[in-house]
């Protein structure tokens, strides 16, 4: 069964609270499960992916979307 990943909308959330909230959400999920994360352009899209990768989560894709970015993460 393929389940559409949950989405965490972090638009408007400053750094590093955005990465912190993403980590908390990922920690609550099963290893291997997917999470879509929406972040703002600028600092957030530069800071959030490395912060999550550093904690062992995998960035699968990063797509621009109407001035924001959609990240797809796999929980480590």
């Amino acid at each position: 069964m393929i389940v559409a990943p949950e989405t965490l909308d972090l638009s408007g959330v400053p750094c590093p609270a955005n990465a912190a909230r993403a980590l908390l959400r990922l920690e609550g999920m099963d290893p291997g499960s997917l999470l879509r994360i929406i972040v703002d352009d600028g600092e957030p899209v530069l800071n959030v992916p490395p912060a999550l990768e550093q904690e062992g989560h995998a960035l699968l894709s990063k797509e621009p979307d109407a001035g924001r970015w959609v990240l797809l993460l796999r929980r480590g």
């Binding site: 408007g12 959330v13 400053p14 750094c15 590093p16 609270a17 990465a19 912190a20 909230r21 980590l23 908390l24 600092e43 800071n47 912060a51 550093q54």
Partner: protein, 385 residues
């Protein structure tokens, strides 16, 4: 001073929990871990900063869940006093073009009433909504004071001296109808009485950590989404610009932990102990008066007016026996003026001066309330009359 040790005296009996509570050991442990392991500035974006930010956001989620709030609606402050200042001064400054009138109740904590008086000195008009003999605000009084120029109405959720619960819902609905903001100081009631911002049309809610076994010097203001306040502190722009200053990571972590623990506390068990204390005291001293609305007050507080002696004498006598309670509110301690709250309820000044407050927590035991009731009864009898 060494306390809580077996030096031939009984253990301390701490019944001053409305002034502040003993931090829960789990809270202290979480704070120590935060201070030693996550000491980086929680506004920085490197790995250690994110680790500290993670603690802040975890605490925010805990406080938000207890309030039925969204995460951005929780603004951490240095405590109840700062949150109350931010609510009143921040709204008055931001909405100066919309009005010039404030309403507060007659039984607010000084961190609301003094702020309102300070604003009145700067030109705002201030109205005080009276309370009845049980210390409860009549919503009709608020309705008659509301005008099109009213910026904000502030009525506390539960009173810190009597535990009286105020009719927030009715008052908040009146404010909404009139276009005034509604603020409530929920420092005493937070986690003890339901206060869900999804059901209550409050715009601003003050909560505090140290009243619920968290650390001193940490609180939060709930700010309804979309509401603009003028900050008290400008600087680095933390908390969406509403409260600048490097995060108190350990304190905020302790707050979040304390709220999570408090949400699992059996409030009914504390009320049972409080009622046991009052019944035992009333059986020993027939002419005690219980202040506040007997059926509608916090289960952690008992305000009793005794026939004699004055509360200060009682306080010191019990203190020598290792039993700690309060005469009036803690902030007024050191002065022997009667409590403004009790006066507003119509108590005579000399009766207010014979009133003590016993306040319980989840750490309070049956033996402790029995010992306190017996000690108070003994002290009254010793003075004779």
């Amino acid at each position: 001073m060494e306390t809580n040790i077996d030096n031939g005296m009984a253990r301390d009996i701490y019944l001053d929990n409305a002034a502040t509570t003993r931090p829960d050991p789990a809270v202290l442990a979480a704070m120590a871990r935060a201070d030693s392991d996550c000491y980086a500035n929680a506004s920085t974006v490197h790995r250690m900063g994110v680790a500290a930010g993670r603690l802040i956001e975890r605490a925010r989620a805990s406080v938000a869940a207890a309030l039925g709030a969204e995460l951005p609606e929780v603004v951490f402050t240095s405590g109840g006093t700062e949150a109350n200042n931010l609510a009143l001064k921040g709204a008055a400054a931001a909405l100066a073009d919309r009005g010039d009138h404030l309403i507060i109740s007659a039984v607010e904590h000084p961190s609301v009433s003094r702020v309102a008086q300070a604003l009145a000195c700067r030109g705002l008009r201030l109205s005080i909504a009276p309370v009845d003999r049980e210390g409860v605000v009549d919503p009709a009084a608020v309705r008659s004071l509301l005008t099109g120029r009213t910026i904000l109405v502030s009525v506390m959720h539960a009173n810190n001296e009597t535990g009286a619960i105020q009719p927030l819902h009715e008052i908040a609905m009146l404010c909404r109808a009139q276009g005034a903001l509604f603020h409530t100081d929920a420092c005493q009631s937070f986690t003890r009485r339901p206060l869900d911002t999804r059901g209550l049309p409050a715009d601003l809610v003050t909560v505090d950590a140290h009243k619920l076994h968290g650390p001193k010097g940490v609180g939060a203001l709930y700010v309804r989404r979309g509401l603009r306040l003028t900050p008290l502190l400008d600087g680095g722009g933390q908390e969406n610009g509403l409260r600048s200053g490097t995060y108190n990571t350990a304190g905020i972590t302790g707050f979040g932990e304390a709220v999570a623990l408090a949400m699992r506390t059996d409030a009914a068990a504390i009320t049972t102990l409080r009622d046991r204390f009052e019944a035992r005291l009333a059986a020993a001293i027939p002419d005690v008066r219980i202040n506040g609305p007997v059926g509608n007050r916090l289960g952690t507080i008992s305000s009793v007016t005794l026939p004699r002696p004055d509360a200060k004498t009682l306080l010191h006598s019990l203190s020598r026996q290792g039993i700690y309670l309060s005469a009036g509110s803690a902030c007024a301690a050191g002065r022997t003026e009667p409590s403004q709250v009790l006066l507003a309820m119509g108590l005579a000044p000399e009766a207010a001066l014979r009133t003590v407050r016993v306040s319980l927590s989840r750490f309070t035991t049956e033996q402790e309330v029995d010992a306190a009731a017996d000690a108070l009864a003994r002290a009254v009898r010793e003075v004779g009359g």
